[in-house]
Amino acid sequence: MKKLLLAVAVSVAAGSASAATIYEGKGLTYTLNGDLQIQFRKEVGKDEHTDIEFDDLELKNHVSYDLGNDMTAFGRIDFGFKNAADGKYDDGSNLEEAYLGMSFGNTSISFGKQNFASDEFGIEEAYEMESKNDRFDAMGTSGDDTIRLDVELANAYIVASYEMDAEGEASENGEYFDLFASTEFNNITLAAAYQNATESIGAEDFDTWGVSAAYDAGFATFAIDYSTTDDVADQYNVASVFAVAPTTKMAIGVIDTDFDSINKEDFTEWYANVTYKFPTQKNVSLFAEIADTDQSNSDMGYLAGMRLKF
């Protein structure tokens, strides 16, 4: 659903960008991607103070071997440093993803520490939010004993994943089964997702459903999603992205969260952000955002930051 962003991707004079393919030869390809983002931020809420935060401070290593007959073996190791940079723990880096897999034409299967199928769901366009992105994000969208199947077709994308509970092992945690499917036609993107989550062994399991739609009208993209976890909460997002200048785009959105429990306060959050991409390098951007909720005793939050990708 990142297409919401891409649909109004601002044009740049040079038009060039580059990913870093480090080595390519004899069937081996090694690619290094980076995502560095820093923010000067005051969070939404009461008595929040401004600080400098990192959001995405990642190095992503991807290695693949061409095995012939349209078969590829691949591996991925991603390191994230944002928590270390924010002083949240001392061990330097955090292993964000680590998996191996095989692809056969347009189908791939992978095993390891990775995102669930439902991580593909959602249309929100905020840099930071008080709310969860959607109900799947609230329930969990990544694991370390995960088997994932991806099928990419001309106009459709289908993903299934299963996270084992690994009872009695060091990686013991919950059990999750996720599905995601999306399709595109006539500038419309439709998606649906499902998750069955058991957050710990022996605990009650929860079903979560979600649907989304996005329409690219040329001058702007409009999108909406709705997701619900049985007996827990419902949530919807409405967002729009539009270009305000050849190098600048703007996004606005609203998220409403409605809890089934009377002990939790329902609330609505809104945000508006602007992103400037340098005409010489589209991978360097500056951005700013304001956001607020209708919760009692909550003050508006704001941020300004910079992002570099390669």
Binding site: K2, A9, G15, A17, Y23, G25, D35, E152, T280
Partner: protein, 219 residues
Amino acid sequence: MKKSITCLLATCALYPAVSFADIEIKPSNGVGILAINGKAVETKTFFSDLPELKAKNGTTQIVVEYTAEITESADDYVLEDSDTFVLTFKAADTTVRVQAPEISNRYDLKSFNRNADWRLLDDRGNPLSFTWGKLEKEGFQLGRDYEKELEEFNSTDTQAAVKSLNTETHSFNKSVPTSQPPSNVHPDQKMVGQMLEYWYEQASDETKNNFKNWLETGQ
């Protein structure tokens, strides 16, 4: 053809101020022009202007790549480059826009690499036909020498190869005044004209363009 070239030469002689127009190359979003006619394109920086992406009228060969933003999850993407393509086309007195379809998943990127779904459009929006090939380098990819790779590419029989780009051409000396004293004029102007016409037709596109520039700037 002979008549048109004779006319061209005559026009040059009569109207030395006539400008021989170029074609301008404009990449669309995500498209990078890496080389034009065997010469690597310098990268634009924040402190320098974008180098002029221009070529002489006639056959033009460009090296291009497309960088796609491949969706990784609902709120993240990674950059992936397409294969490195060589596109060869003919154009005159126009702006050539180099376009690629918007690609956001690996399925489309693989398809693009397989089919070379580039679109070249002139300033009226008409598609230009082109031939294509790929520049492939084994080993470390940082700091590729596109000029050397193109030399090898253009010495092959690949459809998009332009062998004349590997041929050394004559540099017309602009410092010598072209208005020679009357005593240097050869008495047999008919033969001179025939020779000019003959050698012009033997010249490569690049030599012709150099010659035209020499006529244009030397008088």
